[in-house]
């Protein structure tokens, strides 16, 4: 037995050493999650408007156009459960908070990050935001949650080529740096996005409603306004979203706004203000669109 254990230790020691070393190195590559977490930790007490939501908010609302101190804590594929966790984590730091901008996308009531094809992103919240993990442990590690090829590319680019990753702005916003799509590609993006965003199950609906209710209650208790923003999306995309999904979402948010004085709703879903040249793809604004939306929200929230 001793011989066996000796061999086991000898065999696994280099593996564990390499694993831990690689994990340490990968975690020290700057990324949006760690920088957002650090910003909120260090500057949370200055933030007056906090933006939460998915890429619709991340790519669409630029805090630079706000007259109040604003931070965009939204991110790609971030679902309402993680909006809530982030908000809860920093509630003590957010001492100047006056308004929460919560984007309500067609999938907000139905999806959670852990269920979809983007579930690997869960690791970013558990590693960098220390959000309690909800699914398998392999998503607690960079090494086991990503393909080695991707990790190697990140390592090579940052440590060997000394390239800094293309991160969000300090205020949390990031626009696209991609060329405009052709009409065909635009329509295709509408189809693909709507397939992802049309709900397949209602199992998360109640939980997601509770997350929104919790944020609403917190706002009520602490005198914080909550602005629900239905972000602009193209008709190509919106027409492919299931009707009951649209109606249910509107009716749930409408019901909340009706019965609470500190809640507001801004519905820009297919607003004519936003034309084809404001969109990067069927459901995301480009730089120009983000500028327009942000200025509009600034008018509504900070100026008036």
């Amino acid at each position: 037995m001793k011989e066996f254990l000796k061999k086991i230790v000898l065999f696994f020691f280099p593996i564990i050493f390499i694993f831990c070393g690689a994990e340490y190195i990968l975690r020290h590559i700057p990324n949006d999650y760690s920088s957002k977490n650090n910003y909120l930790k260090q500057n949370g007490n200055e933030i007056e408007i906090l933006i939460l939501g998915s890429s619709h908010a991340y790519r669409g609302i630029n805090p630079s156009y706000f007259d109040c101190t604003t931070f965009n804590a939204a991110y790609v594929s971030q679902t309402i459960d993680y909006d809530y966790f982030i908000f809860k984590k920093f509630e003590k730091e957010l001492t100047s908070l006056e308004t929460i901008v919560l984007t309500i996308s067609p999938f907000t009531l139905y999806n959670q990050l852990q269920d979809g094809t983007e579930s690997w992103r869960v690791k970013n919240y558990s590693i960098y935001y220390q959000v309690p993990k909800k699914i398998e442990s392999h998503l607690d590690f960079e090494l086991t949650s990503m393909r080695s090829k991707v990790n190697f590319k990140r390592f090579y680019s940052y440590y060997l080529l000394k390239r800094t990753p293309n991160l969000s702005q300090e205020n949390g916003f990031k626009t696209f740096s991609l060329p405009q799509l052709s009409q065909n590609e635009f329509v295709k993006s509408a189809r693909e996005a709507s397939e992802r965003h049309n709900y397949k199950t209602l199992k998360r609906k109640k939980q997601n409603q509770n997350y929104i209710n919790n944020i609403v209650q917190y706002g009520k208790k602490n005198g914080i306004d909550i602005v629900f923003v239905f972000p602009p999306v193209s008709e190509d995309y919106y027409s492919l979203i299931q009707e009951n999904q649209k109606t249910e979402t509107r009716s749930f948010i409408g019901g909340l706004v009706k019965s609470n004085d500190h809640l507001y709703s801004v519905d820009l879903t297919t607003n004519e203000m936003f034309q084809r040249d404001h969109f990067q793809n069927a459901d995301h604004l480009n730089k120009k669109g983000a500028e327009k939306l942000s200025s509009y929200l600034n008018e509504k929230i900070c100026v008036n």
Binding site: M1, E3, F4, K7, F11, P14, I15, E136, S137, H138, D140, F141, L143, T144, R147, S148, K149
Partner: protein, 480 residues
Amino acid sequence: MLFNSIEYAFFLPIVFCLYWFVTNKNLSLQNAFIVGASYFFYGMWDWRFLSLIVFSTMVDYTIGNLLHHYKNNNIRKALLWVSILVNLGFLGVFKYYNFFVDSFVDAFSLFGTKPNVSTLKILLPVGISFYTFQTLSYTIDVYRNKLTPTKNFIAFAAFVSFFPQLVAGPIERATNLLPQFLKSRKFEHAQAVDGLRQILWGLVKKVVVADNCAHYVNIIFNNSADYNGSTLLLGAILFGFQIYCDFSGYSDIAIGTARLFGFKLMQNFAFPYFSRDIAEFWRRWHISLSTWFRDYLYIPLGGSRGSNFLKVRNVFIIFLVSGFWHGANWTFIVWGFLNALYFLPLLLLQKNRTNVSTVVAQNNWLPTGKEAIQMIITFSLVSLAWVYFRAENLLHANDILAEIGSASLFSIPQVLPRLVLVIVIVFVLIEWFGRRNQYAIESIEQVLKARPLRWAFYFLLIFFIQSLAGNQQEFIYFQF
């Protein structure tokens, strides 16, 4: 808890150390520890379903002893039926209730009426088909006086719940596994090393081959209407490798883990894709289930004795039941039916036992031309049947097979996963050279005699597991 999870990487060494260093002085304590560890392992999925295992254990333990106590045949038969009804009752409710209700409603709707029978929202307890069959084998063997029932409840509970094979087999016979719980185990270095090696190979099969194949199989099968015949055929072939590596990988990890604890489980797969006919395939595929059906269903029905009609009937019964065992869906039943059809000519021509005792090219490096053709035909038949196994429903499977049978079979595949094809080819080569063993790399010590070389090989496999890992998928057979 999955075998290929971080949790298991912590669970296994902790249980191993406590097993050999803390509880090793007392056999009952060691068995009780196995029961506790196994319940914990299973409870990580859903604690509620542990009650089913505990209940099943108590029922079969009690019935086993009562069977021994009573000599009256009628009482013994009644006791056996109680065990069968309890075990199959669980299986029926949890696995087949909704299927029967849906089929009943569908059948009536053909006549224009729709009975109002509601289905239940039932979760399928992981591994229920496996441990149910394992405990059933105990009572049936006791009933047949092949086995003396144990008075040791803890040992019996350990036999039923032994975590390496609890959720996806191998489905052990009480005659093989139970006695191993009744005598003290001694740590054997060679056996433990071999166990670790088999675990490693199982992980390679699951993580590198099966999960990578799964990615493309899902794409092809989920969008089958968009693909031509050659792509769909590729999907069917990749699924063949996915299901083999997924399930036999699980079995390897299970058998290897058991060896670490001093237990010897039965071989569950013996290189089935190197079979020369369908009968040989079924002797090499999911051996623990095939032999279970052979011993407890086929032979009691008369087996291959009697008239041709009886032989054919028995073959169809066993394959249809086997299909149904896999799941409450018509696709599995058709899959079983197809395999019965494949098997039938061999049975009627009395060629079903042609390739019993040897592996293909037993004493040669390469197969003969005839053997190669036989293997290709067998593999093709099996792959086409897998389409039913993987498809969502019969219509889906029929559409795929129709497209495979069309002229588009000769067009260039629309999906060409080069890396996965390389992985599959390398894997097949390793399996080919290791086909005389229990698992492909069992005799690596004879090939790589120097330890540094062997370790380098193991490190390489671990590197592949880490670097070529596909998206983590659940083991397919958990759903059965």
